[in-house]
């Protein structure tokens, strides 16, 4: 469905890393994707795969040691990477909004929630205090906060987690953003509240023609809200497809593993399938395919050659399996070309 629409956000070959004392560590290695107008794109992946770092890069909110080392982030035709602090702050909270994982701590405890929502409006619109508050009230009604007029004067600690996340959403939506980035917006909430918040986001998106980029590691959430899904692994995009395609016909071994590990009610199994091993650390990235160290199908060349991202059956996928080269590749022997047994050192890019 995405192909016919215009891209609201275009991320191209994004490299992000952390400065260290002398060197720097690369975390995001050439991430590219688009968010189309009016769609929900879900980014999924394990902790540490770089999904949150991607969203913080877009917002320009990378931690102090973080730096964009290359690539482009195009929003409304402008490259955000080149914008300075002041230019970014004009976008943030305005056309580009974000809600965070921790509703309990994301609000300032010493100001009323009404004031905090009104503050966004006053920052981006030339309005007085009164108008800003009436806008905040409007937003509270929109996000379904009961008795909104009274809640305006509450402090964050007087509200429940679900209510606080609604306040965060009200704050993020107050200036009618074109793109909302939601970084695990429901992770900290209990399941019933989770469903309410997701439904709310879906409704608002439909009503306002807004794009949503949602970061999550919860595949249940993905299947409920996503139009398209982007799977990340160790700082790379490894698969991208629309929601149905991805769940019914996953192409990348990692995605297959992820989907296989969702518990199903109908089947009775003693053990859930798991993906063996863990994500390699940034200093010990494999030279070739980053998933090769854990991949059950890996061939010899997978360890040394990086697979390209390419189209396969309505998917974009980064795996040698879906290339012509796959048939010619040497089956996994656990040894290198000279017949020596491959040590861990050989497999790590220098």
């Amino acid at each position: 469905m995405g192909e016919k629409m215009d891209a609201q956000l275009k991320v191209e070959d994004l490299h992000v890393g952390f400065k260290q004392k002398k060197s720097s560590v690369n975390i995001l290695n050439g991430v590219s994707f688009q968010v189309y107008k009016g769609e929900t794109l879900c980014i999924v992946g394990e902790s540490g795969c770089g999904k949150s770092l991607t969203s913080l890069s877009i917002m320009g909110l990378l931690p102090k040691q973080g730096e964009v080392q290359g690539g482009k982030i195009e929003f409304e035709g402008e490259n955000l990477v080149q914008k300075n602090m002041k230019q970014m702050s004009r976008l943030r909270g305005n056309d580009l909004s974000m809600i965070f994982q921790e509703p309990m701590t994301s609000l300032n405890p010493v100001h009323t929630v009404g004031k905090q929502v009104a503050e966004v409006v006053r920052t981006h619109r030339q309005v007085g205090k009164k108008e800003a508050y009436s806008r905040a009230l409007e937003m509270f009604e929109l996000v379904g906060i009961p008795s909104p007029a009274e809640r305006l004067h509450n402090y964050p600690h007087e509200l429940s987690g679900g209510m606080r996340q609604r306040v965060m959403i009200a704050m993020a939506l107050a200036c009618n953003p074109k793109l909302l980035i939601a970084d695990e917006p429901t992770t900290a909430l209990d399941v019933t509240i989770q469903a309410q918040i997701l439904e709310l986001l879906n409704d608002i998106k439909a009503e306002r023609q807004m794009s949503i980029m949602m970061i999550t590691h919860d595949l249940g959430v993905v299947s409920e809200v996503a139009d398209r899904v982007l799977v990340m692994y160790a700082g790379e995009v490894i698969e991208c497809a629309n929601n149905r395609q991805l769940f019914n016909n996953p192409q990348h071994p990692y995605t297959q593993g992820l989907i296989a590990s969702i518990p199903k009610l109908k089947e009775e199994k003693d053990e859930l399938p798991i993906i063996e091993g863990s994500v390699p650390s940034p200093e010990k990235m494999p030279k070739g395919c980053r998933f090769s160290t854990r991949c059950p199908f890996a061939k010899q060349e997978c360890l040394t050659d990086s697979p390209p991202l390419q189209e396969a059956e309505e998917h974009t996928v980064r795996c040698w399996m879906h290339t012509d080269r796959w048939e010619e590749m040497t089956p996994w022997k656990g040894v290198d070309e000279d017949g020596r047994e491959a040590t861990e050192q050989d497999l790590i890019r220098s």
Binding site: M59, L61, M85, K86, S89, R90, L91, R92, G93, N94, S97, M98, F100, E102, T105, S106, L107, N108, P109, V110, H111, E119, V120, T123, H124, Y155, H157, M168, M171, A172
Partner: protein
């Protein structure tokens, strides 16, 4: 709020009672006979006994205590043994002097500490930060009396910009009064400002890591609005706590600075009274200080609850 006030008032009475008992006991176990001090070594037993009877010193201690407290409650702090002036009028004379010194040194401290703390926290690791750290460390290590002498030497003796010592009351001449008090206020304030700078820096650094600070930036606020609108108020509480404690200490204990700059304040009065066994004055001054400490703590609790709505003033125990 009302139950808080009631509870605090009750507590205040209990504390003041205990303080009065302790002060009274301490003063009475001190060696030295006021009658002997007043009359001198050559006094006859007869005249000593007569004076003791006149001063009520021949009564049992319990009786002496209740007489003293009874008078206190009526605002009568007794009379100084030394020169027969009312203790209350002595206190009324001295308290404004020390209060002025305290307030001015706080003004100096806060004027330095707030900007320095903010700059060193928001520019962590830069030259600004290091300079503030060096200032804070040297400020904490400099004893106020040494700094006081140094200030007198540079600004009063060498440059002649300020008077080297003395005091002019505010009611007499406001400008001159501030002028005289400035050097001692700096001598006391620098050390305090150094402490407060470090405190504000560390507390601000911690707050700046909070999620709601990131929310502030995500809203599109600039650094200035984030720091002043969101971070400062959350990080000021430890600073207020230390300030409060120090304020109370200053009210009673700027003895050395008062001595160096020859300021006729409460500290000077207290030291002289102790040295001359002038019990009524010592008792009166200590009671005032105890009251001041309690009152300041009370004020700080109210300030907390204004700054942070999560802090509720309740009647119950914590």
């Amino acid at each position: 709020m009302i139950s808080f006030l009631l509870r605090r008032t009750g507590l205040m009475i209990v504390i003041l009672f205990l303080v009065s008992v302790i002060v009274f006991a301490l003063v009475n176990v001190l060696p030295g006979d006021p009658a002997l001090l007043i009359l001198g070594q050559e006094a006859t037993d007869e005249s000593l006994r007569a004076l003791r009877a006149e001063m009520g010193l021949d009564q049992p201690l319990v009786v002496q205590y209740f007489v003293w407290v009874g008078d206190l409650l009526q605002g009568d702090f007794g009379q100084s043994f030394r020169n027969n002036t009312e203790v209350s009028s002595l206190l009324i004379q001295k308290i404004p002097v020390t209060l002025q010194l305290t307030v001015m040194s706080f003004a100096v401290a806060i004027l330095i500490a707030i900007p320095a703390g903010i700059i060193s926290a928001t520019r962590k690791g830069t030259l600004w930060d290091s300079s503030a750290t060096v200032f804070a460390l040297s400020g904490v290590s400099l004893p106020p009396f040494w700094l006081g002498i140094l200030l007198i030497f540079i600004f009063a003796v060498t440059l002649g910009w300020f008077p080297p010592s003395g005091y002019v009351s505010l009611t007499e001449n406001v400008g001159l009064s501030l002028w005289y008090m400035l050097l001692p206020a700096v001598a006391l304030g620098v050390r305090l400002s150094a402490e407060l700078t470090r405190m504000l820096r560390s507390s601000l650094l911690e707050v700046l890591e909070s999620d709601f600070i990131r929310t502030g930036y995500a809203k599109g606020l600039l650094e200035k609005s984030v720091v002043f609108g969101h971070a400062l108020r959350n990080s000021i509480i430890p600073v207020i706590t230390v300030s409060g404690l120090q304020f109370a200490t200053f009210l009673g204990g700027t003895v050395i600075t008062e001595e160096i700059f020859n300021i006729p304040g409460l500290g000077q009065l207290l030291v002289q009274s102790i040295l001359t066994r002038d019990f009524p004055v010592v008792q009166g001054a200590v009671m005032f200080m105890a009251f001041a400490v309690i009152f300041i703590n009370f004020t700080i609790d109210i300030v907390y609850s204004i700054l942070d709505p999560r802090i509720k003033l309740t009647g119950g125990s914590n």
